[in-house]
């Protein structure tokens, strides 16, 4: 393998570290824009990972996926979310039900849990333990964000992080899903973001706030 390939392999190995950092930062973040930027960074890193794999396996489909991830997940969706945040003119804090320190402890616990969960499988499948653990950690963190954040927009961000985790898991174990499925998933996400944007405006106009916990008033 050439010099670039070995560097790529090394960079691949340490990108899991970067993903853990983004997970922790997202959990500790107090502003919506921070979370959106972390998501964008995560997607960019994952696009680089696919690029490294594409170079190693010389697959043209993989290059298409790189472009797709970069354009849609790392650029378009975050841009749309930023536009929604601006237009809503709502307070930009995250409205969490846990404090910053508690959230980061929970995120740390989720990371350790994912390490313990993937230990037996990583050896059997022959994949990098850290990457698989990062994937599971992303899934769990996405779920945690959806559960603990009260702003409607944060539910979307949580879902996006969850999808990132699934994508990474697929990448690690099978070196990527077929292009058709990738395109389908990505466009589903895009639709989801726009729909959530529309609904956010409706919710805000009807109830004058975006606090999801107050939806309980709809109970009969």
């Amino acid at each position: 393998m050439g010099l670039f390939e070995t560097e790529a392999a090394k960079a691949l190995a340490s990108s899991a570290v970067f993903l853990f950092i983004t997970v922790l930062l997202m959990a500790a973040a107090k502003r919506i824009s921070t979370c959106i930027m972390m998501f964008s960074a995560q997607s960019a890193v994952m696009a680089m990972q696919v690029l490294a794999i594409a170079r190693m396996r010389h697959s043209r489909e993989a290059y298409a996926i790189v472009a797709l991830v970069l354009i849609v997940k790392a650029a378009a969706i975050p841009y749309a979310l930023f536009r929604i945040v601006d237009a809503l003119k709502a307070p930009r804090d995250v409205s969490s039900s846990t404090t910053s320190a508690q959230s980061i402890f929970i995120a740390a616990g989720l990371i350790l849990l994912s390490f313990f969960a993937v230990k037996p499988y990583a050896g059997a499948l022959g994949v990098d333990e850290a990457m698989l653990a990062a994937a599971v950690a992303l899934i769990l963190t996405g779920g945690f964000l959806m559960v603990s954040r009260k702003k409607a927009l944060m539910q979307v961000v949580g879902l996006l992080v969850l999808d990132n985790g699934i994508f990474l898991a697929a990448l690690t174990t099978t070196f990527g899903m077929p292009l058709v499925i990738e395109i389908g998933v990505v466009f589903d996400l895009l639709m989801g973001v726009f729909l959530m944007g529309l609904f956010a405006f409706r919710i805000r106009d009807t109830f004058e706030h975006l606090d999801v916990s107050k939806l309980r008033r709809l109970r009969g």
Binding site: V17, A101, F105
Partner: protein, 312 residues
């Protein structure tokens, strides 16, 4: 020869400390669209203070005048632990990071006592707030340093720096990233910068460290200010040494030492710039949110320690 370089390192840290403060203040001023004072201003401040009288309350005991002396002595001794130009330090042979952290704690303890001795409300107020911050900052600092020590299989700072120099930057693992994040947060708390404490305020609502030293004047105040600057420089040099040590002189030849000096100045300047940017872009935290801030640092440090075992 080693001893000579080590002594030079200590003198560098001690004498350059006010300059570091001046540079950070100048960068912050520029960011705020002002011209800012000269970077050598802290030196003239110290000179002015040394010429003045020491005003002492009649009810104060010897602890009041002893505290600044102890604080200054302690920070100079702490500076002797840090490798700057070569990976060796005056007290580095067997001095490990526990002694470094607790030597700084000794100075802080005496400063707390000196504050209480002033007999005014501000002293007690500053002491009680400072105690909150420093108690909670010890755990993440020690845990982060421990995780680095566990990875490098040594507790001595100069040996840790030596070990890091032998590693490739990209091979530094999650442990280093997490430890760096934790130590950066703790460094802000320990040195009393925004977002934990504002080093330039004298409003009762917002002071922590400044309230402790409010009663001091003249040479005592000069010693405290200088000691604070040395502590800031020492912590920045510690971070540089533990995480970015490449470029240190391996031999005693003049070119090697000169290159090491220039590189070190560049790294320190980069850290000063980063600190100034952080201070200018984040608001100061409410005091009861500081435990939250330090809780984040603790979580990162705990994760760093656990990762040393996980990623073995």
């Amino acid at each position: 020869m080693t001893i000579a370089i080590n002594v030079v390192q200590v003198l560098m840290l001690v004498l350059m400390a006010p300059l570091v403060r001046g540079v950070i203040a100048r960068i912050k001023a520029r960011i705020q669209n002002r011209r800012g004072a000269s970077v050598l201003r802290p030196y003239s401040d110290l000179a002015k203070l040394f010429h003045k009288e020491d005003l002492v309350p009649p009810s104060a005991s010897f602890v009041f005048r002893l505290a600044p002396v102890v604080m200054f002595a302690v920070t100079v001794v702490a500076a002797a632990f840090i490798p700057v130009l070569r990976s060796s330090a005056l007290l580095g042979i067997r001095g490990d990071f526990f002694i470094l952290v607790y030597v700084l704690a000794l100075g802080r303890f005496f400063l707390l006592l000196g504050a209480m001795d002033g007999g005014s409300s501000f002293g007690g107020m500053g002491a009680s707030r400072e105690v909150l911050v420093s108690t909670l900052a010890e755990t993440p600092l020690l845990l982060a340093l421990m995780s680095l020590a566990m990875v490098a299989h040594t507790a001595s700072i100069e040996k840790m720096v030596l070990w890091t120099t032998g590693q490739d930057f990209f091979e530094l693992s999650a442990v280093h990233a997490l430890a760096f994040a934790a130590m950066a947060l703790v460094a802000i708390a320990e040195t009393g910068r925004i977002p934990v404490d504002n080093p330039t305020t004298h409003l009762e609502l917002t002071m922590i460290h400044e309230a402790m030293v409010l009663e001091y004047s003249g040479p005592s105040l000069a010693l405290i200010e200088w000691a604070g600057a040395i502590k800031l420089t020492v912590i920045m040099a510690l971070l540089v040494g533990l995480f970015l040590p490449w470029g240190m002189a391996a031999t005693f030849s003049l070119p090697a030492v000169a290159i090491a000096l220039v590189l070190w100045l560049v790294k320190l300047g980069g850290m000063a710039l980063a600190l100034a940017l952080v201070e200018s872009s984040v608001a100061k935290l409410r005091m009861y949110l500081v435990p939250d801030f330090l809780g984040v640092a603790s979580a990162l440090a705990i994760l760093a320690v656990v990762f040393t075992a996980l990623m073995r």
